[in-house]
Symmetry: C2
Subunit: 153 residues, 2 copies
């Protein structure tokens, strides 16, 4: 099959997030969150029953990467002024939900797993967020030193 990189790629959620944050407004931008705010935010990654076997061994990792859909984001932008900022930034230099493809990524801490449910902390997602993928966080994802441009947190 010839790859069609320009084509449309369709994905189906493998589960959903259970979160104390019911609406996007309940989640402060990182720059405005009190220290430790997200560390205290606990919730669950719940995969649909048929994907439970795919979670085997996830509990061996301290952190998981969640790839999700910003399902409540409407409209995409190429540039935006981040909350609390004055300068317009390229959207690929931000974590804004208003992206060409409304795909999000967050790193959560694993607290434990029971069957298809992983309890996590460090959650900054809205309740009901569709999960597209879960990946183990490895050393390769964690460069020793980073420079984070305009982002101060």
């Amino acid at each position: 099959m010839k790859p069609r990189p320009e084509g449309l790629f369709s994905f189906r959620p493998v589960g959903r997030v259970r979160s104390p944050f019911k609406r996007p407004e309940d989640i402060p931008p990182p720059a405005f969150a009190p220290p430790g705010f997200f560390d205290r935010a606990r919730g669950e990654l719940r995969v649909f029953k048929k994907y439970e076997p795919a979670l085997k061994d996830t509990e061996g990792f301290s952190h998981l990467i969640v790839i999700f859909v910003f399902h409540q984001a409407s409209g995409s932008k190429l540039q935006a002024v981040p909350p609390g900022q004055t300068e317009r930034r390229g959207i690929f230099a931000t974590r804004s939900p208003h992206r060409p493809n409304p795909i999000g990524l967050t790193v959560v801490r694993v607290l434990g797993r029971r069957g298809p449910v992983i309890r996590v902390s460090g959650l900054d997602l809205v309740d009901g967020t569709p999960i597209l993928d879960i990946k183990p966080l490895t050393e390769r994802d964690r460069p020793a030193r980073v420079r984070t441009g305009w982002i101060r947190t």
Copy 2:
């Protein structure tokens, strides 16, 4: 609009990877790669012209997260034996391309940008890989201490 978390989400590539690796077989599994192999692997993230404004400020970051499609992966599995391993692992505890949704994630180092082209190192992607999203790597993505389960690299 009522969110439909069970529905299908469709995304269109925003660009493509230029890489020295022409085929998946050219990319060794991390556990088998010589030390520094991926640090030396240089290539480009090329967004389509209309997305060039979205790249503004990306050059301020030392590392970017690339979310892409495993466009050459065929078939998804719930569990698999990783290369060089003997035990079957849940696919969400691996970085295998054979996932329920063939979405990949890699962290690259930014070398420079010219217009719609970002030169990077640390690339482990095949030439032509469709890019779905580019995000800045922030401190929140980089926990101080991690435990990486069965993965030794």
